[in-house]
C-alpha cells in the first residue's frame, strides 16, 4: 500500500513538474540549488562559528578571572574590601560581556560583589559552581532568565584566599553569530537573484530555438515547405534544427517530385486516352465504315465471282480489325491477368515480346504454382516487369533476358536481368527527369504494394532489376 501511495505521489509530482514550461523548470532548478546551497552554508558556518566563539570567549573569561584573582590576592589577604570592590567594579565597567563578579572568602563568605548594595545577591548562585580544591578553574554554564551565563570559578592564592567567581554573558557570541547569519542570508539572496537573472538569459537562449522549431514544424504541417529553422548555436538543439531543415528539404523535394509525377501520370493517362481514341476512330471506325460500304456494295453485286472475292476482302478486313482491337485491349489491360493470374499473363506478354523485339526471354517460376497472389501485387509486378522489359528493348541492346519469379511464404522476389549494355544507375537517377521517369515509376509501383526495387547495373555489365514484395501469410 505504501508503495502505491509513494508511486502516486511521484506521479503527481511529474504531473506538476512536467506541466510547467522548460523555462520554469530551469529557473526552479537554479533557484532551488542556490537557496539550498545558501542555507546549508549558513547552518555550517553558524555551527563552526559557534564552536570557535564559545571556546574563545570562555578562554578569555578564564584568563580574565585568573588575572583578577591574581590581582585580588593581596587585597583579600590584607582584607581591603573597598579595594577589592573597586577592582571588581572597574573590571565590570570595562567589559560589558561580564555579567557579574564576586569574591568568596575561604570561609564561604562573599567579600565583594557587583550586584550593587542590598540583599540582591541572587539566591543559589554561591553554591552553583563549587570549585574542587586544587583545580585551576571550573566552568559551569548557568541557565538564567537572561540567557546562558558561563560561571567561572578561579581560586585566589591557590584557594587559600578564597575563590573569584565571574559570570560571562553569551551576548557577544550571539551578536556575532547573528551578524554573520544575516550577511550570509543577504549574500544568498543576492546570489539567487543574480543566478536567476543568468538562468533567465540562458533559458531564453534554450527556449527561443525550441519555440522556433515548434513554429516551423507547424508551418511544415500546413505544407509550407519554405519554413526553415534558424540555427542559433552549434549545440544539440542546433543539430536538431539542422536535422529538421534537412528533413524539410527532403520533404519539399519529395513533394515537388510527387507533384511532378502526378502531372506526368495525368499527362500519360491523357496521352494513352488520345492514342486509344485515335486508334478507335482512325482504325476501328474506318474499318467498320468501309465494312459498311462493302456490305452495301454486296447488295448490288450480282455476279457470283465478284461477290465471292468481295466477301473475301470483307472477311479479311474484319479479321484485321478484330486483331487490332484485341491487341489494343491486351495492351490496356490483359484479361489473362485477371482471369488466370500473373504467370499466365507474363507468359503471354513475353511470347508477344519475343516476336515483337526478337529478344530471347526466359522465364523461370519457382513456388507460384496453383497460387494466386493479391491482385494489386499481381498488377504491380506485371507492370514492373513490362516496364523493365520495355526498357531493355529500348535501351539495353541486349540479346537475352531472364525473368525470374520466386515465391516463398512471405516474399515474392522478381528478378529481370538482361545481358545488354547497362547504364550508370546513379547518374541516370540524378540526370534529367525524363530518362529516369520509368525507373521512378517502377519504384513507385513497388512501394505502393510495400515492396522494394533495386537496380544493379553498370556500363557494359547488363542490368538487373530486383523487386521484392512481402506477401501477407497467404
Amino acid at each position: 500500500m505504501d508503495r502505491k501511495v509513494f508511486r502516486k505521489a511521484i506521479e503527481r509530482f511529474w504531473e506538476i513538474a512536467g506541466g510547467v514550461s522548460v523555462r520554469t523548470k530551469i529557473l526552479g532548478i537554479v533557484l532551488g540549488g542556490t537557496i539550498l546551497f545558501g542555507l546549508t552554508t549558513v547552518l555550517q558556518v553558524r555551527y563552526a562559528l559557534h564552536q570557535v566563539l564559545v571556546a574563545r570567549t570562555q578562554d578569555w573569561g578564564i584568563a580574565m578571572a585568573s588575572d583578577l584573582a591574581a590581582r585580588s590576592t593581596d587585597l583579600v589577604l590584607i582584607n581591603d574590601l573597598l579595594g577589592l570592590y573597586r577592582l571588581l567594579q572597574d573590571a565590570i565597567a570595562h567589559n560589558p560581556e561580564l555579567r557579574y563578579l564576586f569574591v568568596v572568602s575561604s570561609q564561604g563568605e562573599v567579600l565583594a560583589h557587583t550586584f550593587g548594595t542590598g540583599p540582591e545577591f541572587p539566591a543559589g548562585l554561591l553554591e552553583a559552581n563549587p570549585l574542587p580544591s586544587g583545580a585551576p578553574y571550573r566552568l559551569q554554564p548557568l541557565r538564567t532568565p537572561e540567557g546562558i551565563i558561563w560561571d567561572i570559578a578561579v581560586p585566589i592564592f591557590r584557594g587559600r584566599a578564597g575563590v573569584l567567581r565571574l559570570g560571562l554573558r553569551d551576548t557577544a557570541v550571539r551578536a556575532a553569530m547573528n551578524t554573520v547569519t544575516v550577511r550570509l542570508l543577504l549574500t544568498t539572496i543576492v546570489v539567487s537573484a543574480l543566478s536567476l537573472g543568468i538562468a533567465l538569459i540562458l533559458t531564453h537562449l534554450i527556449v527561443r530555438p525550441i519555440r522556433g522549431l515548434v513554429a516551423m514544424t507547424e508551418r511544415v504541417a500546413r505544407r509550407d515547405f519554405t519554413a526553415r529553422a534558424t540555427i542559433w548555436a552549434n549545440d544539440e538543439i542546433g543539430a536538431l534544427a539542422h536535422a529538421f531543415n534537412t528533413m524539410v528539404e527532403e520533404l519539399a523535394q519529395q513533394e515537388q517530385m510527387r507533384a511532378f509525377y502526378l502531372q506526368r501520370i495525368i499527362e500519360a493517362q491523357e496521352e494513352e486516352r488520345r492514342r486509344i481514341a485515335r486508334e478507335l476512330h482512325d482504325e476501328t471506325g474506318q474499318a467498320l465504315a468501309s465494312l459498311r460500304v462493302g456490305l452495301r456494295n454486296l447488295e448490288q453485286t450480282m455476279d457470283p465471282d465478284t461477290l465471292r472475292s468481295r466477301l473475301e476482302d470483307l472477311y479479311q478486313l474484319v479479321d484485321q480489325t478484330l486483331n487490332r482491337v484485341r491487341r489494343l485491349a491486351f495492351e490496356l489491360r490483359p484479361s489473362v491477368l485477371d482471369d488466370l493470374g500473373l504467370v499466365a499473363a507474363l507468359e503471354r506478354y513475353i511470347r508477344d515480346y519475343r516476336e515483337r523485339f526478337g529478344i530471347e526471354v526466359e522465364m523461370q517460376v519457382v513456388g507460384l504454382d496453383e497460387r494466386r497472389i493479391p491482385p494489386t501485387i499481381e498488377t504491380a509486378v506485371y507492370r514492373i516487369v513490362q516496364e523493365a522489359l520495355t526498357n531493355a528493348a529500348k535501351h539495353a541492346k541486349c540479346q537475352r533476358i531472364s525473368v525470374l519469379l520466386q515465391a516463398s511464404l512471405r516474399m515474392l522476389s522478381v528478378i529481370v536481368e538482361d545481358d545488354g549494355c547497362g547504364f550508370d544507375v546513379e547518374q541516370t537517377l540524378r540526370a534529367g527527369r525524363e530518362s529516369r521517369l520509368g525507373l521512378y515509376g517502377m519504384r513507385e509501383r513497388a512501394q505502393l504494394v510495400g515492396g522494394t526495387l533495386t537496380i544493379e547495373s553498370a556500363p557494359g555489365q547488363g542490368t538487373t532489376i530486383y523487386l521484392r514484395v512481402p506477401l501477407e501469410g497467404a
Partner: protein, 215 residues
Amino acid sequence: MIRVLIADDHAVFRAGLRLLLSAQPDIAVVGEAGDGWQTLKQAEALQPDVILLDLTMPGMPGLQTLALLRQQVPQARVLILTMHEDEAYLRQALAEGAAGYIIKRATDEELVAAIRAVARGEIYIHPAMTRALLEDLIPAPKIPETPEPWENLSEREQQVLRLVAVGHTNQEIADRLGLSVKTVETYRARGMEKLGLRTRAQLVRYMIQKGLLKE
C-alpha cells in the same frame, strides 16, 4: 438432331449463330442465354446436347460457369466459343472439363464441324490453338549436359551461385561474403561459364534439377 444452347452476351452474335446453325439439317438451337446464371438455368431446363459457351460474359466468370455446368448437367458437352486465343485459357477450360475450344474468328464450317465433333463425344480444339498443346508433348529442351559438374566449382563460386540463385543482389552477396561487388561478379561469371549457363533463369533451373536449391 443435335440440340444446342447458345450462351453469349451479345444478342447480335447469338442471332447470327442461330441463323447459321438453323441452316444445318442436323442441328437445332433450343435456347439462348446472356450470362452465366441464365446459362445454368437454361441448361438445366432444356438439357441440351451441346452448350456453346462464351468465356467472357457479365457476372460470373466463364470458367466458373463451365465448372458449374459440368456439375449440374454433366451429360451436356460444353464447347467454348471465345475471343481468347491464349493457351492459358485453353488449358484451364480443358482442365475444367470443356469438350472443345473454338475461337470466334473461326469460319462457319469450322464451327459446325466442331459442334458435330463434340456431339459425337470427341474433343475439338481449333487448329490455331493446337500448337500450345503440342508444345507440351514435345519434351522441353533438357538443360544440356554442363561442361563441368557442380563439384568442380570452387567453394566461393558455389557460394556465390547459390546466393545468386535464391535472388540476392550482387551488393548483398558482396556484403554477406565480405567481398567487393566486382569480385562477386567475377566469381559468378566464372561459375556460370564453367557450368555453361548463360542466364539467371537457367541457373535456377539447373539448381532445381540438380536439387541444389534447398533452403
